[in-house]
């Protein structure tokens, strides 16, 4: 696999404000890379520097072999960008918008087929103003693909969309992923990143505070898998035994429920089930909870993603 994006020690200042304070990462070809972080963390700035829309203060950036600061025209010609909150003129037809943008690039795709693929075939002669929010977002996605880019930047592609539409967009992104395009996705939906990204970097206050596969990140947090057991009878006052690998446990006030933390929950679970069975407490319910990226984020930054 080749490196699509390499960012080394990237800094960006706006006057006295240090928006990006030394970021390093690489994105491999065919990979879906997620930048996760709260508003103002510096992820949009980082993305715009990669897209050639904004000059950097210092550091090195290489995108598809181009330096975005110097070769922004060539770079823009090769990449696709789906911005959040863009608009098109009300009275432009969907197909016209695509054809117009296609004319700006040296290479372009068959706009009609592209619209079909994005389920906009029927809407191609509709005015932009008559489209629903989801349709508009799909048009934005289509515009990002008119030049058949190998690398696509998706900036908060589902922000503000209802859950149904969000799922539609997710499946479209999944298709792109299957087609082996390199994707850079910024989001503050944790599930989105978990679901779509091969690797994630968590950005906060202009720095990457953690990066890896979603699973790696999850595992970085100490035994944060939790086994939650609900019993029919209250747990006796002497408590519960020391299960293998279990690190700490908390019994609820009514003593009919216990949460056991474990870095190897599978192994612990077997013993827990055995114990409940043998002690005759009666198994009401049992869950295994893995830590989410949200948990990771809260753990790492001490704050929620969306606040």
């Amino acid at each position: 696999m080749e490196t699509a994006i390499a960012v080394v020690d990237l800094h960006k200042n706006y006057g006295d404000v240090k928006a990006v304070r030394g970021i390093d990462f690489e994105v491999q070809e065919g990979e879906v890379f997620g930048l996760l972080g709260p508003n103002g963390a510096g992820k949009t700035t980082t993305v715009e520097i990669m897209e050639g829309l904004r000059p950097r203060t210092s550091g090195q950036v290489n995108v598809l072999g181009f330096d975005p600061d110097i070769q922004s025209r060539q770079l823009k010609d090769r990449i696709g960008i789906c911005l959040q909150a863009t608009n098109l003129p009300d009275k432009i037809k969907v197909i016209e918008a695509l054809q117009m943008f296609a004319a700006f690039y040296t290479r372009s795709t068959d706009c009609v087929k592209l619209l079909e693929r994005l389920q906009l075939g029927e809407k191609r002669n509709s005015f932009y103003s008559t489209l629903s929010g989801g349709q508009k977002q799909r048009v934005a996605l289509a515009l990002a693909l008119v030049n058949e880019p190998k690398l696509v930047f998706l900036d908060e592609p589902t922000t503000g969309l209802d859950p149904q539409v969000r799922l539609e967009i997710h499946s479209l992104i999944q298709e792109l992923k299957d087609a082996k395009r390199t994707l850079v996705l910024t989001t503050h939906y944790i599930e989105e990143a978990e679901r779509l990204c091969d690797r994630v970097a968590i950005v906060d206050q202009g720095k990457i505070i953690a990066q890896g596969t979603p699973r790696e990140l999850q595992e970085r947090i100490l035994g944060q898998s939790k086994i939650e057991v609900d019993t029919v009878e209250p747990i006796p006052p002497e408590g519960i035994p020391q299960f293998p690998f279990a690190e700490k446990s908390v019994i609820s006030e009514d003593r009919k429920s216990v949460i056991i933390h474990s870095p190897s929950p599978a192994k612990t679970l077997v013993e827990v089930v055995k114990w409940v069975d043998q002690s005759g407490l009666g198994l009401e319910d049992i869950h295994l909870k893995r830590p989410t990226l949200e948990d990771v984020f809260i753990e790492l930054t001490g704050k929620k993603l969306r606040d």
Partner: protein, 735 residues
Amino acid sequence: MNSYLTYIKTQLRLTMRDRTVLVFTYLFPLLFFFIFAQTMGGGKGAMIIQVVNMVLVIGVLGGGFFGGGMRATMEREANILRRFKVAPITPMPIIVSSLVSGLVNFLPVAVLVISIAHFRYGMPWPEKWLSLSVFLIVGSFSFRALGMMIASVANSMQESQVIIQLLYFPMLFLSGATFPLSIMPVWLQIVAQFLPSTHLYEGMQLILLKQEGLLDNMSKLAALLATTAVGMFVSFTLFRWEKEEKIKNSAKAWIMVVMLPFVAMGAYEGYTRDSIAKQKSVDRDLRRNHTRLIKDARVFVGDGTVIERASVLLKNGKIEDIFLGDAPPAKSLNADEEEGAGKTLLPGLIDVHVHLSAPGGYTDKPEFYDPLKNVPRRLAAYLFTGVTAVRSAGDSIDLMQKQSKLLGSGEQLGTELFYLGPMFTAEGGHGTEYFKMLPEQMRQQAMAQTVRTPKTAAEAGEQVAALKPLGVDGIKAILESGGGSMTFNRLDTGVYKAIVAAAKAQGLPVSTHTGDLRDINDSIEAGTTSIEHGTTRQEIPAEVFARMKAGGIYYDPTLTVYEAVAESAAGKTDLLDRSLVMQAGPAALIQSSKQWIQSGKLGDMSAHSAAITEQFTTAKHNLLAAYQAGVTLVTGSDAGNSTVSHGPTVHREVELWVDAGVPNIAALVGATGNAAKLLGAGNRIGLVKKGYEATLLLVDGDPTKDIGAIERISRVFLKGEGIDRSEIFDDYNKK
């Protein structure tokens, strides 16, 4: 290139789909057009050209500021431009496409407006249509570029609205498109010269009205092109794709940079006032091109014919038609109606012998002797009284040239000026005596301007030939050698003949000032074109008049000056109390003349009063004899001399002719048709005839029966302009 074309194509499509754009680009200008055309009497002559120009300028300004500037700001505010930011294009296609689509949207309006003006309101197709197109295209580009630049420096919709209103309204109101610039104070006219819209408007006006080409408007075109270039450059450099990107307020100073070419134009204008002068002349053209119907007047044609009832249609400065008896309603002719019932319409009166630099009254106040200050007012005074052409018989050649140019262009309002060159006379001859008292250097200068004293026939020929390029309308030669106590050297007959021959060779008429019978005989023999004064010392034999008639020589008896001298010598001031004389003024001069006459300041003139009155009687006798002999008579007054004040001269002259026994009609022909022929302008003035210039006098009553009616002026028209007589002296009274 592809991206430019595609973007332009899309922009055009979008504007065609946008109803508000259609309303502003098409409906509004057309609505304006019809409203202006109907209310401003668009059908009445050149007013329609004015209306077309107004609508086109409003269209260009609106397209630039609102279609260009406002729209570009709006697209940025609505996050539309943001999408283009990520495409591999520069802002150039967006700027260029704004310019091009603005033009493509505007051109059909221009064609439509001009076509409607042509078919519905009878405006001629623009003669210089290529120049007009280029000028309009560049104009449209420059205002679009200005609009794009405003969008580039404005941080929000509100800001761009404020900037646009701040520029749009002054530009609209001061350009001349809404109010004529010439009615504004001079300082405001100069301010207007700093605005691009003024140059756009003026350029189009000159192209449309004066048939000027691009070359004549090169500086305006260059300034508009410079605005286009600077506007495009600035909006490219400062282009912003997103509303979040703010620009420093100091960037708004760029607006001033774009205006720089016009600051230069304005500064130049403030210095030369070239455009302001041009504007005056364009306004004059507009007034001259008004269409009007003078209804049911008695028409004195100028060749002796009288039509008892006719209506005369004036259009584009000419007599378009004459309707005998009943005329169609003025409305059906798209004309303003002027009531002529009970009035007589004549060709404008002509005075073939005036001295514009002389005061026309007795005074020693220096202010009346400064030609630069007085001549323009005197020319206005003639027009005021309905004398629509005068021939200067000896004034500074430079001054006459300049005045003639200013009057011709319409920049200055006054009677039409014809001028004879410097007077040819002998050294120490009549005409040179006025300069004797001047210091040597001034005398040299004054003489060079007003007299020629050739010593040989060859020199005479050279001097005549040298005057031709100066635009003289004829040559004046003086044979008079005086009489009694006042004698002058007489021009050598051989030299005189050479002058006449040279003038004829140049196609110039010769006007000979005679004092006695010998002078008359010599001039007839030499073949003069006209004889001025004749003689008052003896009766001219019928045989002499017969020879004059045979030679086709015009006779200008200048009775007015003889009467004035006789009356002054007799201490009488009645002539100065005539209403028209007092109206034409100046009052201070009349007052001074009266005082001089009544206080006996005129010295030995009074002593010779009886002899002078006798001469006047002889002059009248000679005139009647000339009439009876069939000599062609013309009216000249010798105004400037004695108390013959500039203005109501011809009126008195024809009254005196009638008093001498010449029939009213013959006298009036002498003041119109005949005089026009002597001036070599008989093919365009002097007659009320289809195709002739609409230079006319409307008087109350019937001067063909009661010659005094000639002084009861109702209206004066000069080349179609209805002269506002009440305001004609305003400029001079201020000073």
